[in-house]
C-alpha cells in the first residue's frame, strides 16, 4: 500500500481504534510516564520537575542530533524519552549537572559502544551504573519506596505484567523474579539474615522499573526466547554474588556486566548470515 493510501485508510479507521493503536504502540512509554506522575503526585518522588525536563530534554536532543549524524535519519524521540524518564526516576542528586551527564552518557553509549552496528548496553542501565559507580559523591540511586505501601506495588506489578506480556517479554520478567527469589533464599541461608529482608528489595519501586523496563529492553536482548531466559538467570546469579559482597546497586551492575557479554556472544556466534 502506498503511503497516501495508508494515510487515507488510517483516516477511515474509527477514532477509538486509532487511539487504541496509539496506546498499544506506546504502552511502555505511557506506563513509565504514568509511574512517574503517579509517584510524584502521591508520594512526591521528585523534588521538582526540573530534573525530568533536564534528563528528558538532554536525552531526546542528543538522540535526535547524534542519531541523525550516525544513521542519516531522524530518530523517533520515544527512545530518548524513555531513557530520560528512567534516568530521572532512578538517579538522585542534590545537583543538576549529574542528571544531564547521566542522560548524555546513556544516549551516547548507544552510538559509541556498538558491535556489528548494534548497541550492546541498555542505554540508561549503562549511564546509571557508570554514575553510581564512579560518582558516589554526587549521585545515589532511587531512595523512594511509594510509601512502602502494598497497594501501589500491586497495581504497578499487575500493569507491568500486562505490558510485558503484550510486548512478548513476560518470560524474561518472570524468569528473573523466580531466580531472584531462589537466590534470596540461598542468601538468607548464607548470611543468616531473615528471608523477608533478602526478598524486600523486590517489593520496592527500583526493582519494578528494573524488571519491567531494563531487563526486557528488546534491542539489548539476545534473540532466542531460551537465550533471553538464560541471560536474565545469569543476571540474577551475578546480582546474587554482588549482593553477597554488599553492593547496594547490585541489579544495575549485574545487568551492565552480563547484558553486553550476552549480546556480543549472540551477535558473534548466533547471528544469521545475511
Amino acid at each position: 500500500m502506498k503511503s497516501a493510501d495508508k494515510a487515507i485508510a488510517q483516516e477511515k479507521l474509527p477514532v477509538i481504534k486509532r487511539v487504541g493503536g496509539f496506546l498499544s504502540r506506546y504502552m511502555p512509554q505511557l506506563f513509565i510516564t504514568l509511574i512517574l506522575l503517579a509517584g510524584h503526585l502521591s508520594f512526591g518522588i521528585l523534588e521538582g520537575y526540573e530534573t525530568v525536563l533536564i534528563t528528558v530534554g538532554v536525552s531526546i536532543l542528543i538522540d535526535l542530533f547524534v542519531g541523525r549524524l550516525y544513521t542519516g535519519k531522524w530518530k523517533n524521540p520515544v527512545s530518548g524519552y524513555i531513557s530520560g524518564i528512567s534516568v530521572s526516576i532512578l538517579i538522585r542528586s542534590t545537583l543538576y549537572w549529574p542528571y544531564a551527564l547521566t542522560a548524555a552518557i546513556s544516549i551516547l553509549s548507544k552510538y559509541v559502544l556498538r558491535y556489528k552496528g548494534r548497541h550492546i548496553w541498555n542505554p540508561s542501565n549503562f549511564g546509571i551504573s557508570w554514575m553510581l559507580f564512579t560518582a558516589p559523591l554526587f549521585v545515589a540511586g532511587l531512595s523512594v519506596q511509594w510509601g512502602n505501601n502494598l497497594l501501589p506495588m500491586l497495581v504497578i506489578w499487575m500493569l507491568g505484567m500486562v505490558i510485558v506480556y503484550r510486548a512478548k517479554r513476560f518470560h524474561v520478567t518472570i524468569t528473573y523474579v523466580i531466580s531472584f527469589t531462589i537466590f534470596a533464599f540461598i542468601r538468607s541461608l548464607i548470611t543468616q539474615d531473615p528471608f523477608l529482608a533478602e526478598i524486600a528489595p523486590l517489593t520496592g519501586p527500583m526493582y519494578q522499573l528494573f524488571i519491567f523496563f531494563m531487563i526486557t529492553d528488546p534491542p539489548t536482548n539476545v534473540r532466542s526466547k531460551k537465550g533471553q531466559m538464560l541471560v536474565v538467570f545469569i543476571v540474577a546469579l551475578v546480582e546474587f554474588i554482588l549482593r553477597l559482597n554488599q553492593f547496594v546497586y547490585a541489579p544495575f551492575y549485574a545487568l551492565t556486566i552480563v547484558g553486553p557479554i550476552a549480546k556480543f556472544i549472540d551477535l558473534k556466534y548466533f547471528s544469521p548470515k545475511s
Binding site: T94, L108, T134, N148
Partner: protein
C-alpha cells in the same frame, strides 16, 4: 544500519563520550578534602584572620568529664540495638540559680547512670551538682531513661524549672530558688509513659503561663525494655504514621497541666524528632514547625491561641518526605524574616536527602517557603542531627553549627547495604524489627565531622569546618550555643552519643562588638519565651526570638546574643512581648549584658 557513519563523526563523539565518562572522576578528585599541615596554633591564627573565630575543646581545663551511655533494651532488639538506642545525648542551657552565669544540663540514657547539671563556678570552671540537687539519678530501672530536657519558669517564680523527656516516665522538677529541685511529676498531670525525643516550652495562648509540647517518637504504649511484640519499627520510610502521639500540655497556673492535644488539633502520630516555635503569620501567637523522621514535616498555624491548623502542603514544606531531625531558625539575611533549618541524611552514593533551609517567600496571609539550602550552601551535612544558628564571629550575621554522625562501629564495615535492603521493602516487612538484618557491630554513617558554616553577610554560607575547629569525629547529637564565660562570645556545647560531651571554647578576633539582652516578662511569661527582639544598628536590623527549646534535644542560652561587627552604636532595640506589648529602647550600650523587664527600664 545501511548508512555509513563518517569516521570524523565516530571520532568526535567517541572522544566526547570518553570526556563525559571522566567528568565524575575529575570532579571527585576536586572534592577530596585538603590535609592541613599547619600546627594548631597556626591553624587558629589563620582561622581568626580569615573567619574571625576558632573553636577549641576545653573539657579538661574546665572540669567537665561527662560521658553519654546508651541503654540496653528488650533482648529481641539486640541485633539492631545501635539503630534503636542511637539517641539520648542532649544538652540544655540555663542559669538555674540566677547568678548571671550560664549553667548546663546533660542527659545520659543508661539505667543507673546519672544526668549532670554543670554549675558555672564563675571562675572559668564547672561543677556537676546534679546528684546533690536531686536531678541526677533519674534513669532508674523501670522508669525509663533520659532523652533530653528543656528549661522554663513555668510557675513564674523567677527560677527556671526543668522538664526531662524520656523513653519512659517524663519528669518535671520545680526549681527551689536555685538551691535544689523538687520532683513534681506526679502532681503535675504529665503522661504516665512516653517515648519522646523532643519537647519545647511555649505559651500557645499567651496567657502568661508557659505551656509544654512533647513530641512522640515510638508509640507511648511501647515499653522498649519489655516488648509485647516486635512490630515497633516505622511502617514506611516516607509516610509513617505509626509513631508516638504528641502532647500539648496546657499550664493551668496552679502547678498542674492539662492535656489539650486533641482539642487543639495536634493529633499527629508521626515520628517527631524536633519542634520549633515561631510566629510565622504575625498574629502574635507562636506557630509550630515539627520535624518528623520517616515522613514529611508539619507546619501548624496557631489560630489566635484557640487551636492549630496544619498547613504543611499549602506552605510547600510538606511534600518531600525526608528524615527531619532538627529544627533551628534564624534571620539569616538580616531582613526580619526567619529561615528554618531542618537536618536530614546525606550518605554519598546511597541516600542524598540533603538538609533543608526553608526561606519564607509568601506573606503573613499566605505562608510559603522555598528550600534554598542548595543555593545558600548548607545542604550537605552527613547523617545530621542537631544544629544551631548563632553569630560565632560577632560580625552581625548568624552562622550555623551542624552535628553529624550516626553509628561509629567497626571502621570500613558498613551496615548501609543491609539498611538499604530492608528499607526498600514493603510495610509488612519493615515494621517488624525481627526482619531487620543484624548490625553485628558495623558502622552506619559513622566517623563524620560536624560542620561549621559562616554566614557571608546574608548571601551564602561558606563551609569553614576544616579551618575553625579541630574536633575529631563523634556521633554528635545535640548542639547548644552559649556564652559560658560572659565574654560576649558564643561558645558551643555538643552532646555526643556514647561519648564525652564537647565543650568548645570560641576565640573571636578583636574588633567586633556585641550586645546581649536578657528578658523578664511581667504580663508575659516570666522567661520571656516567645518575645521577638529586633536590633537596629548601622542601617541594618536583625531579629531573634526567645526560645523554650530549639534544635535537636537541645536548648540554647535564654539571653539573646547579637554580634554587631565593628559598629559601636546601636540605633534601637524593639521588643515584641507575647502579651502584645511593644517596647522600644534606644541608646543601648554595646559590649554589655542588659537585663530588660517587660514595661520597665533596662538594668
Amino acid at each position: 544500519m545501511n548508512h555509513k557513519t563518517p569516521l570524523i563523526v565516530q571520532i568526535l563523539f567517541g572522544t566526547l563520550f570518553v570526556v563525559l565518562l571522566s567528568v565524575p572522576l575529575v570532579k571527585g578528585i576536586e572534592k577530596r578534602p585538603k590535609i592541613s599541615k599547619e600546627t594548631n596554633e597556626q591553624a587558629k591564627a589563620s582561622a581568626l584572620d580569615l573567619f574571625g573565630f576558632y573553636l577549641e575543646e576545653v573539657n579538661d581545663q574546665v572540669g567537665v568529664d561527662f560521658f553519654h551511655q546508651s541503654p540496653k533494651l528488650d533482648a529481641r532488639l539486640n541485633h539492631i540495638l545501635p539503630q534503636i538506642a542511637s539517641v539520648g545525648a542532649s544538652v540544655s542551657v540555663c542559669d538555674f540559680n540566677n547568678d548571671g552565669w550560664n549553667d548546663f544540663y546533660l542527659t545520659t540514657s543508661k539505667y543507673g547512670a546519672s544526668n549532670a547539671l554543670y554549675k558555672n563556678l564563675a571562675n572559668g570552671t564547672f561543677e556537676n551538682v546534679a546528684l546533690d540537687f536531686g536531678i541526677g539519678d533519674i534513669n532508674q530501672q523501670g522508669t525509663g531513661v533520659s532523652m533530653g530536657s528543656v528549661w522554663a519558669d513555668f510557675n513564674n517564680d523567677g527560677f527556671e524549672d526543668l522538664f526531662v523527656y524520656k523513653w519512659g516516665k517524663p519528669e518535671l522538677f520545680l526549681n527551689r530558688e536555685g538551691l535544689g529541685f523538687e520532683n513534681i511529676s506526679l502532681s503535675a498531670g504529665l503522661p504516665a509513659w512516653i517515648n519522646s525525643n523532643s519537647a519545647i516550652w511555649f505559651d500557645y495562648n499567651n496567657d502568661g503561663n508557659i505551656d509544654l509540647l512533647i513530641g512522640g517518637y515510638y508509640k507511648a504504649q511501647i515499653n522498649l525494655w519489655n516488648l509485647e511484640n516486635t512490630l515497633i519499627m516505622p511502617e514506611s520510610f516516607e509516610y509513617a504514621n505509626n509513631g508516638g502521639k504528641n502532647y500539648l500540655l496546657e499550664n493551668q497556673g496552679d502547678g498542674s497541666f492539662k492535656d489539650v492535644t486533641s482539642e487543639k488539633g495536634l493529633e499527629s502520630t508521626k515520628w517527631t524528632l524536633a519542634i520549633g516555635a515561631m510566629d510565622f503569620d504575625s498574629n502574635g501567637f507562636q506557630d509550630l514547625f515539627i520535624a518528623n523522621d520517616y515522613s514529611v514535616d508539619e507546619l501548624y498555624l496557631n489560630v489566635d491561641g484557640k487551636n492549630f491548623k496544619e498547613i504543611g502542603k499549602e506552605s510547600k514544606i510538606g511534600y518531600a518526605p525526608k528524615s527531619g531531625m532538627n529544627v533551628s531558625m534564624a534571620d539569616v539575611k538580616n531582613d526580619g524574616k526567619f529561615s528554618i533549618y531542618v537536618s536530614n541524611i546525606t550518605e554519598m552514593g546511597i541516600l542524598l536527602q540533603g538538609n533543608n533551609l526553608w526561606q519564607p517567600t509568601g506573606s503573613a496571609d499566605q505562608i510559603e517557603f522555598k528550600n534554598n539550602a542548595r543555593i545558600l550552601g548548607v545542604e550537605l551535612g552527613g547523617w545530621s542531627y542537631g544544629s544551631q544558628f548563632g553569630d560565632l564571629n560577632n560580625d552581625g550575621f548568624q552562622d550555623l553549627y551542624l552535628a553529624n554522625g550516626f553509628i561509629s562501629g567497626t571502621k570500613n564495615n558498613s551496615y548501609w547495604y543491609d539498611y538499604s535492603k530492608i528499607t526498600g521493602g514493603n510495610k509488612f516487612i519493615i515494621s517488624d524489627a525481627t526482619n531487620w538484618p543484624a548490625m553485628e557491630g558495623r558502622s552506619q554513617s559513622g566517623y563524620q565531622l560536624n560542620k561549621v558554616w559562616v554566614n557571608s553577610e546574608g548571601g551564602t554560607f561558606a563551609d569553614v569546618t576544616d579551618y575553625v575547629s579541630e574536633l575529631p569525629p563523634f556521633d554528635s547529637r545535640a548542639v547548644a550555643m552559649v556564652d559560658l564565660w560572659n565574654r560576649g562570645v558564643l561558645d558551643v556545647i555538643v552532646a555526643n552519643q556514647n561519648d564525652k560531651v564537647s565543650i568548645l571554647k570560641n576565640s573571636v578576633s578583636e574588633g567586633n562588638n556585641w550586645v546581649v539582652v536578657k528578658l523578664e516578662g511581667t504580663k508575659s511569661n516570666k522567661s520571656g519565651i516567645g518575645a521577638r527582639i529586633t536590633l537596629v544598628w548601622n542601617n541594618q536590623s536583625q531579629s531573634q526570638v526567645v526560645s523554650g527549646g530549639i534544635g535537636f534535644s537541645s536548648q540554647n542560652q535564654r539571653a539573646i546574643h547579637f554580634g554587631l561587627g565593628n559598629t559601636s552604636k546601636i540605633d534601637k532595640l524593639i521588643i515584641n512581648w507575647p502579651s502584645g506589648a511593644e517596647q522600644i529602647i534606644e541608646l543601648l550600650e554595646v559590649n554589655k549584658i542588659h537585663k530588660i523587664k517587660e514595661g520597665n527600664e533596662i538594668s
